[in-house]
Symmetry: C2
């Protein structure tokens, strides 16, 4: 299924079929899509926690106003973004680039200074919003990849982020929860699947100049 057909098929799954789980290849495919989607400078300034554990999900569910997708989905892909981004992370990234493409890392000195200059100019809140935005590109890729494969997905950002951070032990790792993609298979009883998709007229969303 191409992306557009996949996205037309997709809907915001509220209830998942708890008896149906994704297989390893499907999970691997989704991970690859998120891995290969680009991010600012290529830094990938976030992580993705794939939560399967039932006990943790029960606790997360309470911090997400009891939304059933949290416990019913096959997996939760929780995007967590960095709240601090030190020069050592940029060094690591440039080293990886130099190794991958076989050039001396010293060649990237000016580029390094440029990236560090941009990052150090951000306030703590700005930095966290910037890294979160990169995670949202990743969420977009996850939604596309799942829909292409006819895997149901419910993107979520309506949850208590502080409580999520606490349950997942994120604060001490300079990470914070950004958004979730709950993936799995729709329950036949989820009536949302029968609703028509609601979208603005194209001429309202787009303007060509």
């Amino acid at each position: 299924m191409n992306i557009v057909d996949g996205l037309k098929w997709r809907y915001a799954t509220k209830h998942f079929d708890v008896t149906k789980k994704l297989n390893k290849d499907q999970i691997e495919y989704l991970k690859q899509a998120v891995n290969y989607i680009p991010s600012s400078y290529g830094l990938q300034p976030y992580k993705v926690l794939i939560v399967e554990d039932g006990e943790i999900r029960k606790r997360l569910s309470e911090a997400a106003y009891g939304q059933p997708a949290i416990t019913e989905a096959s997996q939760l892909f929780i995007f967590v973004n960095y709240t601090e981004y030190g020069t050592e992370k940029v060094d690591e990234f440039l080293k990886l680039g130099a190794e991958t493409n076989n050039y001396p890392v010293e060649k990237t000195e000016n580029y390094k200074n440029m990236i560090n200059g941009v990052i150090s100019s951000l306030s703590k809140v700005q930095l966290s919003n910037w890294t979160a935005k990169q995670a949202y590109i990743g969420l977009g890729a996850l939604i596309c990849a799942a829909s292409e494969q006819q895997i149901d997905i419910c993107p979520m950002e309506g949850f208590d982020k502080e409580k999520f951070d606490e349950i997942l032990g994120l604060k001490e790792r300079n990470l914070t929860s950004a958004c979730i993609g709950a993936v799995g298979y729709r329950s036949p009883e989820d009536t949302n699947q029968f609703l028509k998709k609601v979208r603005k007229p194209m001429e309202e969303l787009f303007e060509t100049i």
Copy 2:
């Protein structure tokens, strides 16, 4: 090409072939992908300006540190997000939903109050970051759709947003520029296409719990 193969094929195109333009069907396909990608509550709190005009792009290029993609690409998809989001926009969205699915809009009273409650609790900066994040999901979809179709795309956020807003007349419309997808065809002379993709090891990006 599936999404993962498309994303592997894609690279951050720095130089486009100015003689090659997307056709109408390709542009329509990219628009559909952005249109069908979900957003918070389904509100789509952003617009996408598709910029073709050479004069405007020359001015934008100056506000984007002369990055060649701005003038060389076939089209620029500029995502611009709302900086204000009044209750009338929520009303409009709920009316569209009621019309599309043929139920009385009065049925959505509680839902309306919930959405308005969440939005009104945001500061101006928080609101703008929230609407921008939705635009970034759209950028993720644009990147996936272009890559699937083997259309080159360079996502960009390194530009002077204030100058962009001024050139595009966004401020008076309560909009601000978030991010860009420059689409077209790679120049054979763009040496970036020969570099290997640099990505974190999968076990660093993902953690399964």
